[in-house]
């Protein structure tokens, strides 16, 4: 997972690259949280283009982020 922060638009793009399941999602949620707290963006864009697999654990993680 990596992030891109656009200063002008205050948009934080969070790019997920790994499979998102129960095993990976707690770590991803924490990293995501930390970046949102660090940048305090106005908008967050979750980019799933490179995600090859996600189950309902990922949905739970997303809901929590939102």
């Amino acid at each position: 997972m990596f992030v891109n922060y656009e200063i002008k638009s205050k948009e934080l793009e969070i790019v997920f690259e790994e499979e998102i399941d129960h095993h990976t999602c707690s770590k991803l949620a924490i990293m995501s949280d930390d970046n949102i707290k660090k940048y305090m963006p106005q908008t967050v864009l979750f980019n799933f283009e490179k995600v090859s697999f996600m189950d309902s654990s990922g949905i739970g993680m997303l809901l929590r982020q939102i």
Binding site: D21, H22, S56, S57, G60, L63
Partner: protein
């Protein structure tokens, strides 16, 4: 029955990916589409995750996965000898989770039911839970 395999894994979350990929590899013999394989992998992931989080409550246990291949159907059994489900009907309800503190979406059973053609749940409190799921491969929808 044309073919079968049995797998036993420790109830560690690091085995979730292994379980779904193994079942998918076995299912490949039926020449499924990419989408059918994705459906199977997701359903297996949900069931195995349930064994870990709910069945064994993140403690050590063994999860049994038995797969059978018929002409155009795969049957997948996922069994744990953990806590068991008190009220199966309630557990199967969309968005219901007995562990909201863990940020669970409560969609596991809903996804299994949507992605597989048939699902049966047998459970005895204090003894364990067995999920039997079937999917017909190559069905024209």
């Amino acid at each position: 029955m044309d073919n079968e395999m049995k797998l036993e894994i420790k109830s560690k979350s690091s085995n979730e990916a292994f379980a779904r990929v193994t079942v998918a590899a076995f299912a490949s013999q039926l020449d499924p589409t990419f989408e059918e394989l994705a459906d199977i992998k997701t359903a297996v992931s949900e069931a195995v995750t349930n064994c870990i989080i709910h069945g064994y409550e993140n403690k050590d246990g063994i999860i049994h996965i038995n797969c059978k291949l018929f002409d155009k159907t795969i049957e997948i059994e996922i069994i744990d000898f953990g806590k068991g489900i008190e009220n199966v009907e309630m557990a199967r309800q969309a968005l219901y989770t007995s562990k909201p503190e863990l940020d669970r979406s409560g969609m596991g059973f809903t996804i299994m039911e949507s992605f597989m053609d048939e699902i049966k749940v047998e459970s005895i409190v204090g003894m364990g839970t067995k999920i039997v799921m079937k999917k017909n491969i190559g069905e024209v929808k």
